[in-house]
Point group: C2
Chain length 282, copies 2
């Protein structure tokens, strides 16, 4: 973390690049445009940039409202030494982008990430049934392709259109509206309670019948509202699981500290991933 | 379902092809070699072959002990009209395969599915640091490539080696031992209780605090042992979830029928995915 002459802490944020991804959009929506941005090529690299203090913050996608959890991010959280200090929800709004001057009838190829092509399946089969589809590693990569070829269109965000100076041929082309992705903001620092917080924890239970029930029982007892529970393989033993749990409250609340004590008595191992102000958009 | 002259019901099984995949191996381990096999190009196609009675059975991967749930299969189960009638656990044992006569020093390219390349990352960097890696849509596709090119090796199972008449240069090359995949067997029929059964259900809960706890409470009350719980987006509303629950018991057991009644009273909607003999290997 670097400090400038006027003693203001400079913020720089690692995100999953290249420029123009929904991850960069999430970073700008969370931090505003007045921060440094560092693009990384993998989610693992974003975690490592934060953990080694190359950047003050990182932002990673954790869940899509249609596609579900992003396993890579969850697996990184298991061993992560940084904390979650915020969340940001971004609306996934796909547009059809091309060079200025390109008309729909000029398009010979439509490039995008596999998931985005799938999310626009109905639109594409109704409007471009004969046009070749090209899978790219990200929507931003697709926008870069469209930038260099007048016959290639990209499916990407309006934000990518701005970054790559592309023309928007059509907006809102995804089959389902209300498709959103939730991002986590990471940092080596911690947050103070605001009164409207959320806490994310990892729970390892004994591999015994009723173990999950005994983990959930204290949440009910303390009336702590679970907003989310996810299962992942523990990576220790085959068919052993770890639970990702989000609930309303801050780790420094008295009631949360009591909860952690009770969970320990139940034989559960708890790792605090972070407490942070809950997004109003969830 | 077709019946032959001697009145024996002919079994044919849809699986995720091409020939030589772990899915085919799972089908043969479950049914033996005396059944018809129909290779499909996607998991969706396997479901649809069973639902439209093109085949009597289907087999689909549902979970890997290291990588976790296979979302595509879970999403298909949500709308599926067929039932789960069995499960099969297959050990994932990768080998390095090439044409007979090819030595390790001849290898210029190693082909496999992305996940298999990742599972052999340590082996590859220790033994083939300079060799090009080629991602294929399946390990069986990689074996087909190796069959036609003496300088290409494939990472695939010993089973694929037999199918494609390839030579095994080295066995057990995956970084983690004890890597297994669980497959589900689908059919339009149903199974009778054997006394050692497992039941899979889908549960939609109200989007209210404590909803998951209230779903798990009756399992505890009836001492029904949960073997598994997974969360997926409901696809109806953003941030609404559906739970995949496996537990010990059969849907026709009196106690299970009581459980379903109690869940209904709690406001949960339950879809029975199937009851089937539990694999000894889990």
């Amino acid at each position: 973390m670097t400090q400038s002459a006027n003693n203001k802490i400079e913020i720089n944020v690692a995100y999953l690049g290249p420029a123009g991804t929904y991850s960069q959009l999430a970073a700008m929506e969370f931090f505003g445009s007045d921060v440094g941005l560092v693009d990384c090529s993998t989610i693992d690299d974003v975690f490592s940039a934060v953990e080694t203090a190359q950047t003050t913050h990182g932002i990673v996608p954790v869940e899509n409202s249609t596609e579900g959890a992003i396993n890579n991010t969850q697996d990184c959280l298991v061993d992560c030494s940084a904390k979650i200090i915020g969340e940001q929800i971004v609306s996934i709004e796909h547009s059809l982008l091309a060079q200025s001057g390109t008309k729909k009838s000029d398009i010979r190829r439509i490039a995008s990430h596999k998931q985005s092509l799938a999310q626009c399946r109905n639109y594409l089969s109704a409007n471009f049934p004969q046009v070749e589809q090209l899978e790219c590693s990200s929507n931003a990569e697709a926008a870069i392709l469209a930038q260099s070829d007048a016959n290639t269109a990209a499916i990407a965000s309006g934000f990518a259109a701005t970054i790559y100076k592309l023309h928007c041929l059509e907006d809102h082309i995804q089959d389902k509206s209300n498709n959103r992705t939730r991002f986590l903001v990471l940092s080596l620092g911690e947050t103070e309670a605001t009164g409207e917080d959320k806490t994310s924890i990892l729970v390892y239970t004994e591999n015994k019948p009723g173990a999950l029930f005994r983990v959930l029982e204290p949440f009910e007892k303390y009336q702590l509202s679970l907003t989310k529970i996810e299962t992942r393989p523990s990576k220790k033993e085959a068919w052993e699981y770890v639970f990702f749990i989000d609930f309303e409250g801050h780790a420094k609340d008295r009631i949360t500290m009591e909860l952690f004590d009770v969970l320990k008595v139940c034989g559960a191992e708890v790792k605090l991933l972070g407490s942070y102000p809950a997004s109003k958009l969830v």
